[in-house]
Every structure is written in C-alpha cells, then in structure tokens.
C-alpha cells in the first residue's frame, strides 16, 4: 500500500493528494496544547477590558430585550449604554447579578443578551471571550 516516494518524514499537509505519511501516535501521546493566558497576571486587565453596547459601528441603535439591535425608539428596546461596560460589569450582568448603578433591570437584561450574542470581530468580543475562560 505504501509507495516508497511517500516514505519521507514530515507532517506537511498542504498537498494531501501526495499522500503524506501520517502517524496517529501512541495512545498516551499528546498532540494538543491549549494556550491559556496566565490568569494571575491578566485577571486585572480582563476585568478592565471594555464592551461597548452597542459596538461603535452601530452607535445609536437601541437594544431589544433579546439583545438584538433595533432602530432608536423601538418600543420595548432600551437606549445604548451610556458608557462601555467593563469586563467586571459584564460578568455580573451575565450571571444575573446586580446591575451597575444607574442601569435598570430591563436594560441590564438587554445588554447581557447583547453581550451573549457578540461574535468574533465585533467590538468587545475578545473581552467577552476572556470572561468565559476558566480560571
């Protein structure tokens, strides 16, 4: 089944048609290392990171209770947050904890749902993702 030409070493995977040699490895070997931020050092910066609600690209949009962005003045939706939420505030909101001073519970719920909907590439996503990291 093996062609001698395939017997070279090397894990290149760019040209699978050339049937590179691939070893599945020993059961006890490990092939995945996850880079975890050094939490002790980054905890402060994580909690100080900011999540604008909504993102600057959507400035002025209101936030519906499910976290979606809607035109200003839409009934049932809340105005944008007056200032970006800090990581610590976002964390509290996501846990259903107390809303920051001056934020009513309807806004807190809308903002929490907005944050849950953040995706890669959107302002605040990296901050949100870092809040999800186990520590």
């Amino acid at each position: 089944m093996k062609n001698p030409r395939d017997d070279r070493q090397g894990p290149e995977i760019r040209e699978p048609s050339r049937r590179h040699v691939l070893a599945l490895g020993a059961a006890a070997a490990s092939t995945v290392v996850t880079i975890k931020p050094a939490m002790a050092q980054t905890a402060a910066s994580v909690l100080n990171c900011q999540i604008p609600v909504p993102a600057p690209e959507a400035a002025g949009s209101y936030v519906a209770s499910d976290g979606s962005l809607v035109p200003p003045g839409t009934p049932g939706a809340v105005p944008p947050a007056m200032r970006p939420l800090t990581g610590e505030e976002a964390k509290q909101l996501l846990r259903g904890g107390p809303a920051p001073a001056g934020m009513d519970s309807q806004a807190a719920q809308a903002y929490a749902n907005y944050i849950r909907r953040l995706q890669a590439g959107m302002s605040g996503f990296t901050c949100y993702a870092s809040l999800q990291m186990p520590r």
Binding site: M1, K2, N3, D6, D7, G10, P11, I13, P16, R19, H20, V21, L22, A23, L24, G25, A26, A27, A28, A29, S30, T31, V32, V33, T34, I35, K36, A120, F125, T126, A129, S130, Q132, M133
Partner: protein, 93 residues
Amino acid sequence: MPGSRYAADAPHLLRKVELDGLTALFHLPSGTTHILAPPAPEILAVLGEGPADADTLLDALRSRYALVEQEGERSALLARLAELEAAGLVQRA
C-alpha cells in the same frame, strides 16, 4: 452498537498558521489558541467537512494519507479525538 460521532467547527471558524511542523490554531468561537501536532490538524480538517464516527474518520485519513501502520490504530485515534474534545475543538455529534 455504532460508535460516537464526532464533529468539528467549519474551517472558516478557525485561523491556522503552520509553524515548522506544528500548527497554531485560533478557534474563533472560544477565542482560544492551541498548538497542534499531527495528526490533530488532519483530523480537524476531515471533521470540518462533516461529522464522522471513528471508523469513518480512520477511513478518510487512510484515503488521504499514508497512515503509519501501527498496532492499536483505532485506540490511538480515539485518544487523539479525546484530546481534541477536551480542548473544545471537537464535539460529540
């Protein structure tokens, strides 16, 4: 009894950089970075095309690569899948 089926995120949710035999991989949905050694990137590539059980996956790898013959091929593959699952890169479908 059929074995578990495994799934991985589609390639557009991953950013990969080849690093001298290793692959640095940024997983967009979780915002985490992983360093992978073969055959992990190859397994992810196959699963990125659709869920598969271990036997189907083994066949797919065999069709694309010259798998080094070894004892316990299937258990080695299951060990790789378990690692990828623990890292959050593979889920049971």
